[in-house]
């Protein structure tokens, strides 16, 4: 069972099935799913704070996803957070397409937390993740747009007393050509609101699309993000608001023993110091300084004197963790995939290959450090956040405050990057903000609290991509043909101890630890994939852009390259031969090698330099991506990446330019991982603290990138993550092509030792 199927079984407090609460008729979605369209008037003033505040009595709000004002403005409500991946633009494209709105009249607003109306249809809870936004919204947003359009058309037909079929709708205007009458959406909203919601609607055939698939649509978030007006959590200012900066424990699992606040309280602007405990949600047990500015809170935090109880603290270093994992990798693990008898085949093989791979902890390091704003009153908890995890965060906050989930409202703001971090399975940082707000209130501060982490806090707080070690063995016959593949994966389970463990960890296998390996696409005669999940390593871990694929693809795509070399075959031809049953893998592989000129030798290098080209192909989140990396290795062993060619098959391309941007960005994000990414522990303490010790990619390291999209009529799939996995293995394969050296751990060395 796939992750999505398992997630969809997860039943939150509101009920996992998406129930239509309309007292009128409802729309039946494709595939029998009942859509989350909610046609009753917005009934809960608290849970609809955002939507209701912007609406006026004259607006036409046919369903939960669109509101049309008398001035013609079409507001699309996005249940998915915009964290750069283009979800606001994508959801608006789908709705505006079927509404036949003019792109310029469409604006997007974050939806409130309300799983009844805004659940992710693939998860059953309101959340953004797993590159799922477009896949789950594909029919829902189109049908919402089509329903609104039908009601506007009915209103025009009624007003002009003519049959609906004689009306045309284009770019926000309804026309009756015969009588030369026309009306903009805004003129019809009052009448449209009185029309019955259609029992069923028809959506367009792809040939009739005016917006979907078009290159000339500009992003809906560009303007605000280029003039400073876009609002992130960091920018929230509320009357009387206090800024909270925390003194965090030096090691995971440490607790506050005692603290002396006197020096902190002497800092001008500091108004209070409170201890808080969010450890139940894997947040910190720590001390927060409350002040009237961020600067004052920082100064106060630096002046604090805190002693820590480290009796339960985690004290291992990365080297010790790796040594333990290496021992585990020598033992059989829990089988995640068994085809044939790989073990015996390898023992009998004429030739074998053994390899070990090590992948460090990785921080997300989004540009906006974690933060969250909370305002409490006896019956209400209001949260402002770059909210990626509505239902879980709402439930966590409600439990902490002794409220019901519908007494917790969330205003979804732009997230300054996420890469998985803002969807924490235990709601760690939201729980910290609520804990601080509760502690502040207990100390008499009736004020909203903005919790802000420093960059150092963000890097030290854990919730990293787990450290993994893989051990692989291949068996070949005497002619070098691949017979068997055995792969052992060792690493912490992201889901262990979370609410997701019971549904997403099956028979001892956390699907997110083995995805990309246990479902190896290549037709290998015998395949065995095993997993070790150590539970005594208590570093907080979390999904990180592309999750398991961030390490499994490196192993599978460099290992298949090694197998090709043993067989004496071209890396592309060898892959194609094992992908006979995988047409979409072959499709991206063919497109990328054609566009990269794989069959034409690389332009030769300058004297003393060597050039290389490597390829990788990988499916993740139902999207297929192949990349070719071209590089030059200098005489001193340093190398530069010259060009990356990328082919992507994500089904029908809704916003081609957003898809290209996500591939470009995914390649840069993956390059940062491949070249620099490593969080290391020493005696339990994180050794990195800012961008000097945890470098990410800078512009001078960014290669030329070319992205090509496979034309497709398949259902759309996501693009936020799938650009990441193929890059590092393609890069390592290119280094092999240039130098003959196999590199099996990340990050790669800055320079190779050349003979």
């Amino acid at each position: 069972m796939g992750i999505r199927e398992r997630l969809s079984r997860l039943t939150p407090a509101t009920g996992g099935r998406i129930v239509n609460l309309s007292r009128r008729r409802f729309l039946q979605g494709a595939g029998g799913l009942v859509l989350g369209l909610y046609f009753a008037p917005l009934s809960s003033p608290q849970s609809n704070a955002v939507a209701a505040s912007a609406a006026t009595g004259a607006d036409f709000e046919p369903n939960a996803f669109v509101r049309i004002a008398a001035d013609g403005r079409v507001t699309v409500l996005s249940k998915h957070v915009e964290m750069g991946q283009g979800s606001y633009t994508g959801l608006a494209t789908l709705l505006a397409e079927e509404l036949d709105a003019d792109w310029s009249q469409v604006v997007v607003e974050g939806a409130p937390a309300d799983a009844k109306r805004y659940a992710n249809l693939l998860f059953g809870i309101q959340a953004t993740g797993g590159s799922s936004a477009m896949a789950n919204a594909w029919m829902q947003m189109r049908e919402a747009g089509a329903a609104a359009r039908a009601m506007l058309v009915a209103a025009a037909a009624e007003r002009w007393q003519i049959p609906e079929v004689e009306l045309q709708v284009e770019a926000g205007v309804i026309r009756h050509p015969a009588s030369q009458r026309s009306a903009g959406f805004g003129e019809l909203v009052a009448d449209a609101a009185r029309q019955p919601v259609p029992a069923e609607v028809r959506v367009k055939e792809p040939k009739d699309f005016r917006l979907i698939g078009k290159l000339n649509l500009r992003r809906k978030d560009s303007a605000g993000k280029t003039d400073g007006s876009a609002r992130f959590t960091q920018d929230v200012q509320l009357p009387g608001m206090l800024v909270a900066v925390t003194a965090r424990p030096p090691r995971f699992g440490a607790k506050v023993q005692r603290f002396d606040a006197s020096r902190a309280l002497a800092v001008p602007g500091v108004v209070g110091v409170v201890a808080f405990d969010a450890s139940a949600a894997r947040g910190a047990n720590a001390v927060a300084v409350l002040a009237n500015s961020t600067w004052a809170a920082w100064q106060g935090r630096d002046a604090l004197d805190v002693s820590w109880d480290e009796a339960q603290a985690f004290r291992l270093g990365s080297d010790e963790i790796i040594a333990r994992y290496r021992e585990l990798a020598m033992q059989p693990g829990v089988p995640a995939r068994q085809d044939g008898d790989a073990v015996t085949t390898i023992e009998m093989a004429a030739r074998t290959l053994e390899a070990e791979y090590v992948f460090p902890y990785l921080a997300h390091a989004a540009m906006e450090p974690m933060n969250c704003v909370v305002r409490l009153s006896p019956q209400h908890c209001e949260i402002w956040n770059g909210e990626q995890w509505h239902t879980m965060d709402q439930a966590t906050a409600a439990k902490m405050c002794g409220l019901t989930p519908d007494q917790v409202t969330i205003t979804q703001l732009y997230a300054g990057g996420g890469f998985g971090r803002r969807a924490n399975p235990t709601s760690d940082y939201v729980a910290e903000a609520v804990a601080i707000a509760l502690a502040a209130r207990a100390h008499g501060f009736e004020a909203p609290v903005k919790m802000v982490w420093t960059r150092e806090d963000d890097m030290h707080a854990g919730h990293f991509r787990p450290l993994y070690l893989h051990r692989a063995r291949l068996g070949f016959d005497g002619a070098g043909q691949l017979l068997a593949w055995e792969q052992r994966i060792v690493g912490q389970s992201i889901l262990h101890g979370t609410a997701f463990e019971s549904v997403m960890v099956k028979d001892g296998i956390d699907a997110t630890s083995v995805e990309g390996a246990a479902d190896l696409a290549y037709a290998v005669p015998a395949l065995r994939v095993e997993l070790h999940t150590p539970v005594d390593i208590t570093v907080p871990v979390q999904w990180w852009r592309s999750v398991g694929h961030s390490h499994t693809a490196f192993v599978t795509e460099t290992l298949i390259d090694e197998a090709a070399a043993v067989a004496g075959a071209d890396p592309v031809a060898f892959r194609r031969g094992l992908l006979a049953e995988r047409p979409r893998h072959r499709g991206v592989l063919d497109l990328v090698t054609q566009r990269a000129g794989w069959d034409t030798p690389l332009a030769s290098a300058a004297a003393g330099e060597r050039r290389g080209r490597g390829v990788a192909v990988h499916e993740s989140f139902n999207t297929y991506v192949a990349q070719v990396v071209e590089l030059t290795v200098a005489a001193d062993g340093r190398y530069r990446i010259d060009r990356v060619v990328c082919a992507v098959d994500c089904g029908l391309a809704i916003n081609p330019d957003v898809i290209k941007a996500q591939m470009e960005g995914g390649i840069g994000f993956a390059l940062a991982m491949a070249l620099h990414g490593a969080i290391t522990l020493k005696d339990g303490v994180v050794e990195q603290s800012n961008f000097d010790s945890y470098p990410v990619l800078r512009i001078n390291e960014m290669p030329v990138v070319e992205v090509h999209i496979v034309p497709s009529a398949e259902k759309p799939s996501g693009v936020g993550e799938p650009g990441v996995p193929p890059l590092a293995p393609a890069l390592a394969n290119a280094l092999f092509a240039a130098t003959g050296q196999r590199l099996r751990s990340l990050p790669l060395p800055a320079a190779l030792r050349l003979a």
Partner: protein, 152 residues
């Protein structure tokens, strides 16, 4: 009490002279377009112009600014280079999460003020102090070239 000249407007502030300009702008004056990313001049998210020069506001004590004009992302659109850069950014849809882009635009417009036709190498050299975790770098390069063409 000190007076800052920001985007052509005087602002009187009662803050310690050692408070970084970033926090004076964000928390005291309410100009939140300038972002905090690292606090140590490592990421460029807080880039503003002081006297036309790109500066990291997170390590610039507010007391050191004096009466020199400060331009932030909220005001750079009233300058020719800044307006061209913002326009190119929108036409090429450079932004993703957008958090670093105020700083990118301030750095890019400062570059074009001194070098109206930068090469890729010039762009990389001038922009390497500005991190974009979404890695929008391909489009940043393209947009700077587009803005340079528009200004030529």
């Amino acid at each position: 009490m000190l007076t800052l000249n920001i985007n052509g407007q005087p602002h009187m502030l009662d803050v310690p002279a050692e408070m970084p300009l970033l926090w004076a702008l964000r928390d005291v004056i309410g100009l939140t377009g300038t972002k905090y990313g690292c606090g140590k001049a490592l990421c460029g998210a807080c880039t503003v112009h002081i006297d036309g020069q790109p500066v990291r506001a997170c390590v610039t004590p507010v007391g050191s600014v004096g009466d020199k004009p400060v331009t932030t992302i909220e005001g750079v659109g009233s300058e020719r280079a800044g307006r061209a850069v913002q326009t190119a950014w929108r036409e090429l849809d450079v932004v993703q999460c957008g958090y670093c882009q105020s700083g990118q635009i301030m750095a890019a417009s400062a570059l074009l003020s001194i070098n109206p036709a930068p090469s890729d190498a010039d762009i990389d050299a001038a922009m390497a102090g500005n991190i974009c975790r979404c890695a929008t770098y391909v489009r940043i390069r393209a947009a700077i070239h587009a803005a340079a063409s528009a200004l030529a």
